[in-house]
Symmetry: C2
Subunit: 811 residues, 2 copies
Amino acid sequence: RRRGTVFLKRCFVFCLVEQLVDEILKLNEDPKIHGLVLDLPIGALSGRVINSVTPEKDVDGITDVNLGRLIRGDLSECFVPPAASAVLQLLDQADVLTVGKKVLIIGATGSLEAALQALLKKKGMITISSQWLSKNLKELVRAKLILSQISEPGLNSLKFKLFVSLSSRWITNQQRKRWDVRALKLQPLSPVPSDIEISRAQTPKAIEVLAKEIGLLAGEIESFGRNKAKVKLSLLERLKEHPDGKYVLVAGITPTPLGEGKSTVTVGLVQALGAHLGINSFACVRQPSQGPTFGVKGGAAGGGYAQVIPMEEFNLHLTGDIHAITAANNLLAAAIDARILHEATQSDKALYNRLVPTINGVRQFSPIQLARLKRLRVDKSDPSTLTPGEVSNFVRLDIDPSTITWQRVVDTNDRFLRKITIGQSSTEKGFIREAQFDIAVASEIMAILALTDGLADMNKRLGNIVVANNRKGQPVTAEDLGVSGALAVLMKDAIKPTLMQTLEGTPVFVHAGPFANIAHGNSSVLADKMALKLVGEQGFVVTEAGFGADIGMEKFFNIKCRASGLYPNVVVLVATIRALKMHGGGPNVTAGKPLTKEYTEENLKLVADGCSNLQKQIQIAHLFGMPVIVAINVFKSDTEAEIDLVCQIAKHSGAYDAVSCNHWAAGGRGTVQLAEAVERAANEKSTLSFLYDLKLPIVEKIRTIAQKVYGAKDIELSPEAQSKVDLYVKQGFGDLPICMAKTHLSLSHQPERKGVPTGFILPIRDVRASIGAGFIYPLVGTMSTMPGLPTRPCFYDIDLDSDTEQITGLF
Amino acid sequence: RRRGTVFLKRCFVFCLVEQLVDEILKLNEDPKIHGLVLDLPIGALSGRVINSVTPEKDVDGITDVNLGRLIRGDLSECFVPPAASAVLQLLDQADVLTVGKKVLIIGATGSLEAALQALLKKKGMITISSQWLSKNLKELVRAKLILSQISEPGLNSLKFKLFVSLSSRWITNQQRKRWDVRALKLQPLSPVPSDIEISRAQTPKAIEVLAKEIGLLAGEIESFGRNKAKVKLSLLERLKEHPDGKYVLVAGITPTPLGEGKSTVTVGLVQALGAHLGINSFACVRQPSQGPTFGVKGGAAGGGYAQVIPMEEFNLHLTGDIHAITAANNLLAAAIDARILHEATQSDKALYNRLVPTINGVRQFSPIQLARLKRLRVDKSDPSTLTPGEVSNFVRLDIDPSTITWQRVVDTNDRFLRKITIGQSSTEKGFIREAQFDIAVASEIMAILALTDGLADMNKRLGNIVVANNRKGQPVTAEDLGVSGALAVLMKDAIKPTLMQTLEGTPVFVHAGPFANIAHGNSSVLADKMALKLVGEQGFVVTEAGFGADIGMEKFFNIKCRASGLYPNVVVLVATIRALKMHGGGPNVTAGKPLTKEYTEENLKLVADGCSNLQKQIQIAHLFGMPVIVAINVFKSDTEAEIDLVCQIAKHSGAYDAVSCNHWAAGGRGTVQLAEAVERAANEKSTLSFLYDLKLPIVEKIRTIAQKVYGAKDIELSPEAQSKVDLYVKQGFGDLPICMAKTHLSLSHQPERKGVPTGFILPIRDVRASIGAGFIYPLVGTMSTMPGLPTRPCFYDIDLDSDTEQITGLF
């Protein structure tokens, strides 16, 4: 091992010197580079390198004398880090810095680096932190990179060495490489302990370490404690020329109410790819609501030996994104009611005086108000010139309270807020109305977060949110309320995906978690995009779609992929013997009740019959042109014969492959076979085809999904639904994609109809719209947007040990 | 400067060698230390040091040969950092590590350090990160600390050097020193730009840098992005033997509705102490609600050139503490209503079966349920042995809905939630009731956060929260609902104070922000305690009490100091010429309206008359035995004669000193005079005396405050208030301190009575209790716990630039 190390080192130094001299000679010729300073590991600072800088461009005058000192280890004279202020002063005067485009600072750390970054930014330059690079250099040469800030005796000023332009080539090369991710070792126990015990038994890598391993620069992450970091969107700009990796979607067959383990398969699959096959791979998963964590379901970080860790941080506040959504959602809600009250109790003039006040003798519109004037087609910027009619139009949103669709949210299972009356205090002067609270993840802002591709787009979507109609039937938006800028400010950090890791130390993005019925149930476009760049061309990004493939996958393609422009390579379809038996006619499966013996004993007939649902879901994936790998999430009571039967039927039904997965008990090692199948399938050619053209009428789009995906005979719209469709078309929203709000427990709208129901007419009870997010959502039946607490919620078991700070009872 | 550096270095090396040899010789004799490995800066690794280790204890065998190589700078052989895994293996086998109590790892960084920490922790050892120490070493010698992991040619294994036990002495010495805090330079502009412009023009130090400057160890902080970090409570354990610094309270005279600048004085004072006088100093301030940020008031990070930066991070989500409070508060609220519903719709038996279910054939109580049984005096742990009566008592909290005092919260100004009806969905089976939402910072959990002294105490307080009475008139607590553990889990990160910095780069703790009327209006006990240890004996901690001194300061002493056991040294009493003129009979001052000429022109008579209020507030501070410095927060229109007059009257009224402050326009430089006065006063002897004995009857305690502090003739309790007092006494809560909920705009209960009102009878409308927080709060008049949005809220001006990610319009 040591020989290898030394070899590496020599090899590196040799290469670097050649490359470096080459680079310096080029820079000598470059008229745009006025000077050159070097900051290199000592091994690279040979006379040859130093002398290759032409005298005109030599701004630091490093000489053989200093170099000799350095090499002799005469440390007392050489290793004098300059005071940050002196360096700054020097840089401030140096012309060299205003011409290059990218400046790499090697060797400056901490406050100095921060100050340098700030200074260079002020000069309009892009800076790249050295930390990632120096770390990699260090590891390559197995030698410490030594600061080369050198003082020259006889001179009063300190000189600082920068290594210009080699940086971008270096970083590019690094990015295309296989990561050097240190896998965390697993020693699975049997029986498998509880999720929190497994999570706690593993010590995650410090998140900065993981970030460096996967090629993130130090300036691109914002740590949130030791185990989480937000990753800046600037990454997308830096890597925009890089090719994307392979993109894998994990979907499922129609599940039992217990869930069939898509999240664990997602995590297990990347553990296998990353920690066992050594392939760059990323999981992109949803952030769970805290409601279920304390209510019925428990955590959502995966399970067993396929988890995102630390699971308690994943399941609790994370980096505050859902809290930010709650704050933004509720600010908008408060603005609506307050505005109605203020309009109802004030004259046009009083409203105008308050909305556009005179401050220190000056009266002017705010930018948000100017935007509203523009929408009202009033081309004026002087508040004193508006006609009374224009003033009235400007100050009155004239919201029709009966059309308000914007609800307040909390991230708590609070059933008593499902239907409430608000405004009953006398201070609200009788403006009472019925309203409701939804769970926070049901907010349209969550769907916006999941679908946006950047800050500018998010700002636009937030402004576009339609909260109600005015009395003329026109939509009233968040921008009309003047609150869209504040919403963007509240969401400015939430837009950055959160980096965490699996139990085996491979990277995970956690970002956004919209409802899978009234919204599209997929994690964020941004996380997927960033992960695809980071893994590189040969790497894999695995993401998950909520509910069964008929819902989550359909929306993944028709809504998320349309928004992102990304096309996946493979669909992994998760099935369990349990769910297949249910579809084959097994007794009801209910949460909290023990499974009957049909489920705990071998029953090949039920399995075979239930594969109809699997077959149908495979066909649905094929509608979109995707190869399908069936992943059987194995439980202890499943028999080999049952598993073999499913694999056989799956392949017969057109699946590219079908394999069993044992990640829950064994971690990534239990999913290697799946990972290998996915890798093979990803090399097949696939072409995504959307199911419908956006230009089709809304009703046609709904019918297409119902017939082609669900297998319905037809659809039937209630009069209310039809009139909503007409309204949305009139308001100009007819070309949006469709987001069906249907039960996930059946392909049909009736949860009790298992297998592959046919001949049914899908009833469309109502149609709603999330204009900011950008979809129309037809309601098939009643969708609860606020879960309740059961008699004995999870929280009975949850506790905190105040000595160890450890959490118990989360699962 | 360089000469000093060189001198320092030699001096250091000399001292260290002596100290080191001394230490090694001691360790040689210590039978509990089985081996010794060294990891030191190269300058300290002399033959003398190396040879002082006895052969029996020499576990790494460092020889002069290697040392020679090191000193000759023969780097290719010497600087080979060992692979982390090899080191870990070595450590895992090393007996030496299982015996010492503290192990300092010098030279191991990043993933290796994390792994080492984890391993040592597993072995039950306390570890101290090297980063802080090595940083300080580095700065002392102005030379880079070089890794001393040395490979020995001829041996296959790598040896790792640890320097045992010297660490604690080192750290102790460091902690007692003056910090080496790099002040951020200010160049104040005139006219003073907006707060956000000032904040944005300054580049804060990376928070890790500040943390190291003030003696925090790397393992003691959890960064939240670049500019904020949570500080772990373990700090208190590490520094428990250290003396506290001086403790300064900033309070104010009775303010105008515009506020008189206590926050800016607080920040300006620490800027002066820290950045101008070079004294270790910390500001401890409250986290503001987001409601006002988007509503009327704007931000709360100070103002002008005395701010906490970045002000937008301070004013928005910060590190999520208020969001955590919201989540915990609302989980408890949801649990109450859900429990009432479940009890009302199920038999004892059904409830019992659900609350204590049989899982995999086993039926057992959770720890929280066992605690409830104990409170019910049922000494059983087997669920099958409870009598029907015991079952009924156990399963039925029997909450009387009319007595519920626990309200839901949002951190938004949402006036329509002031009075609402909940439970109107048919799923709640008619269990509707009237309720309300408060602003999040009004939650009792915020008051608990502010008063707790650690995790165990917080858990206890959360469990003690009384949410309602049962139908027998007994209190029902969060612990009875089984939710106290979950609340603690939600609050486990919020309990750690957040480190930020002032505009001049000195440290600030932001932690907790309870209401100043229904709660005690002071930032957290924990932040103060931690800051007092960090600044050291000669340092200063400045904190602020909400509202005027009659309210905030009175509660600071009688509630916060009682809880913390900390005694302050000085009170700074903030006054403005504006407020004094108002008290002297000037016209009303109203937010949003221009000031009349009495306020913009010199008027010595109004000032002199208004000093009655100042005098009274000084007397109130003297009641508690504190020396008072009057700080006049100067505005542009104040004249020298006015300021001189106030100083004169203040000193005549017993103030230790009175000075004018110009921090808003000039930063810390404008508050140096105040800082010097505070430093002098802190050296005076002062003894805190509480105003009342907790054993006094509740009514007597209220009367004492009303008469001695407010100057009331007497108090008068409504029948409702009296019956509440009787109830609380009966419930055993009679010995709690009193937290008056009174207007801050007058010493009396009538906001319009300025100056020093006399002869009034203070009416006590109602009395409530925050049992978890630990106080009784009498209501004097109506207290709004939910602000509203005005016609033109602040959010009209707030926007986000999606290119630069900069926020505009916050102030």
